[in-house]
């Protein structure tokens, strides 16, 4: 109906989100790995950040303390050089330099000039400003420093100021951070590998029931249609699938049984007339006979042939009706008129058997009139077969709200035992072939009625109570 062009059907989604692209195991593994890696990244990143920022904070704290101490010395004891010298020379992990306003070096940690020249220090902060952040600097010899510079007052005078330059050696910290980063990377890589591996294992394990179901399904062949998957054995998510699968098998098995019974019945139905024909011809030819006797044989054969031909026509009709391309020619028909025509056709038989046929109701519907008559005729013929003398058959039509039109054929006949009802519309199925007073039927009548209703998109239902009667209801849906 809706023919898609190649362009439209082409799925532009990436392969792993597209159904039928990747295997479920592959997809689950990727998703699982991605989520674990994401978690790892967040955790290690956070740890790394905390370490780095803590160290930095400690460094800044230390440098600020140093500036504060130097400023205090310069302010409180501008004349004494010992305090300053002590600070400058006692430095271990840090270097200090004091310059005058013209940037001339007054005093500095010995050797500092070779490693940390004056110009590399950042712009100084004012004499009363705090704190100072400083910048990181890496020397040509591979050592790392955090360097700050600040103005300091000498004594209480604003005019006389000194420039302080302090550098903290943070090489060991940097080494620690780099080492830490390297170890984190190793841990991260290991984690990714582990989670990918465990992802595959988890996905495989999760998919195992699907694989097992597949294996069970593979075992089922026409000869083992009785096998079932048994929904109780499977995880909750697969129960629905298993149930649906089992139901499908039930239906298949039933159709299969019907089909094989149909073949058996067909063979049986064909065998009897063909054996009769063979036997008659054989006997007739076994000796010379008068022309009348040959004529008798030919006439009898012709009857059998006609019977076979009618049966094949019926089967062909059913086969054609099952073809989905089969269409019918609908027109608006008056149900009452069709019912009366069919009742008229069966009138002679009804009178002969002392049965009354009554036509009731009226409705107009869209149907193929020839098929409608055929269905009604089959139903009436059945009803006449199973209704005893003095009985009554009512054929009624009525419009049903929302449903279309309903035609009922109701008899007061012998009825059908409940065990036969489910199979009554099967081909060749006869509830009581031995007791049938008219052995001319083949048991195709009701199958034909059903397929006629299928062709009309309608339905047929049967209700019966033994020794009380049978009602067959044909429902024609209203044309939409």
């Amino acid at each position: 109906m809706f023919l898609k062009t190649a362009e439209e059907t082409k799925d532009r989604r990436p392969a792993w989100t597209r159904p039928g692209g990747w295997s479920i195991t592959g997809r689950l593994t990727v998703l699982y790995t991605l989520s674990t890696v994401g978690m790892f990244l967040v955790a290690t990143g956070l740890l790394y950040w905390v370490l780095v920022s803590d160290l930095e904070k400690a460094d800044k704290q230390f440098l600020n303390d140093k500036i504060r101490v130097l400023r205090a010395i310069l302010r409180e004891h501008p004349d004494k050089a010992e305090g300053l010298e002590e600070e400058v020379s006692s430095a271990g992990a840090y270097d200090v330099r004091v310059l005058d306003q013209e940037k001339r070096v007054l005093i500095e940690t010995p050797g500092m000039v070779y490693i940390l020249p004056v110009p590399l220090f950042p712009a100084p902060i004012g004499p009363n400003e705090m704190p100072v952040a400083g910048v990181k600097w890496k020397s040509s010899r591979g050592r790392s420093y955090r360097v700050v510079s600040a103005w300091a007052e000498v004594g209480r005078s604003i005019q006389n100021q000194r420039l302080l330059q302090v550098a903290l050696d943070i090489t060991s910290e940097q080494t620690l951070i780099i080492g830490y980063r390297r170890r984190l990377m190793v841990a991260l890589l290991g984690g990714i590998l582990f989670s990918a591996g465990s992802g595959i294992a988890v996905a495989r394990r999760g998919m195992r029931p699907v694989k097992e179901i597949t294996q069970t399904a593979e075992r089922i062949t026409a000869a083992q249609l009785h096998e079932r998957i048994d929904p109780a054995r499977w995880p909750k998510e697969l129960t629905a699938l298993a149930t649906a699968f089992d139901q499908m098998l039930d239906r298949l098995q039933e159709s299969f049984t019907r089909l094989s019974r149909f073949s058996a019945d067909l063979a049986h139905e064909l065998r009897t007339p063909i054996h009769n024909l063979m036997g008659e011809a054989e006997v007739a030819l076994s000796r010379n006979r008068a022309p009348e006797e040959y004529r008798e044989v030919l006439e009898s054969s012709l009857e059998e042939f006609a019977k076979l031909s009618r049966m094949i026509d019926g089967l062909l009709f059913l086969a054609r009706a099952e073809n989905p391309e089969c269409t019918i020619e609908r027109q608006t028909v008056e149900a009452r008129k069709e019912i009366e025509t069919v009742a008229d056709f069966h009138d002679a038989v009804a009178k002969e058997q002392g049965i009354e046929i009554a036509c009731e109701g009226a409705a107009s519907l869209s149907a193929d009139p020839i098929l409608l008559r055929r269905a009604l005729s089959n139903l009436l013929s059945n009803a006449l077969q199973y209704t005893p003398r003095g009985g009554r058959i009512v054929v009624s039509a009525r419009p049903v709200a929302d449903l279309g039109v309903e035609i009922r054929v109701k008899d007061t006949g012998s009825g059908i035992a409940p065990e036969h009802l489910p199979k009554i519309f099967d081909r060749f199925y006869r509830a009581d072939s031995a007791r049938s007073p008219f052995p001319q039927g083949f048991g195709l009548g009701l199958a034909i009625v059903k397929s006629i209703m299928d062709l009309h998109g309608g339905a047929v239902a049967i209700q019966s109570e033994p020794s009380k009667g049978t009602t067959v209801t044909l429902t024609f849906s209203s044309p939409s």
């Binding site: 009898s300 012709l302 009857e303 025509t341 038989v349 009178k351």
Partner: protein
């Protein structure tokens, strides 16, 4: 009456020729569409029986060719596929009737008679077969001067048999023509109806008019 059969199946052609010849027709057979068309154009036929499933030139083109030649000869076509499209196509191409294979010979004979009878005349108002008299416009049937008490359908059945007197009529044809039931049915309705009709038309009289032809159908005639 001259009939041309265009049919490629030898067995079918043979029994059709035999059956039709025995029923008083002069029969020619062509087993190819080309030959059939040639015969139809040159010969003088009253009816052509045409199989549509022919090798090489098929029945449809033969039918078209016959109509192009301008000869007003009726055509009855035989088809193995009884799809609606086929029937519509055949009738649109100007065929007069069709039969779906396999068919009963009596069925074919009845249809041939009905096509050949379609011409003017022969629509008598009163049919007489020995002492049976049927007055069609007044819906009255008399036998031996006595009025027969028939239901409308019994009258329709009797007049159908009488109109085709001497012709064996199959059950299918009877149910189609009398009751408008256009399908084969397994029922014995026609037999019962004939039995009831006989009770009124034949039973009170020594001479029987309605005869059973076993395996084929019924015929009304003076034997």
């Amino acid at each position: 009456m001259h009939i041309l059969i265009v049919e490629d199946d030898r067995k079918t052609a043979a029994y059709l020729r035999k059956g039709l010849t025995e029923n008083g027709f002069v029969v020619d057979v062509a087993d190819k569409g080309e030959d059939g068309l040639f015969l139809a154009r040159t010969g003088d036929y009253d009816l052509i029986i045409l199989d549509v499933m022919l090798p090489e030139q098929d029945g449809w083109s033969v039918m078209a060719g016959i109509h192009q030649s301008g000869k007003p000869v009726p055509v009855l076509f035989l088809t193995a596929r009884d799809s609606v499209q086929d029937r519509v196509k055949g009738l649109e191409l100007g065929a007069d009737d069709y039969l779906v294979k396999p068919f009963a010979f009596s069925e074919l004979l009845a249809r041939i008679h009905s096509i050949l009878r379609r011409g003017p005349g022969r629509n008598a108002d009163i049919l007489r077969i020995t002492d049976l008299e049927i007055d069609l416009p007044r819906h009255r049937a008399m036998r031996g001067g006595k009025r027969l008490d028939l239901t409308p359908k019994e009258f329709a059945l009797l007049s159908f048999l009488a109109r085709r007197t001497g012709e064996v009529l199959s059950r299918t044809l009877i149910s189609e023509q009398v009751w408008d039931m256009n399908f084969d049915s397994d029922t014995n309705v026609v037999d019962v109806a004939i039995r009831r009709l006989r009770r009124k038309v034949d039973d009170p009289f020594d001479k029987k008019l309605i005869h059973t032809v076993r395996g084929v159908g019924y015929v009304l005639e003076d034997r």
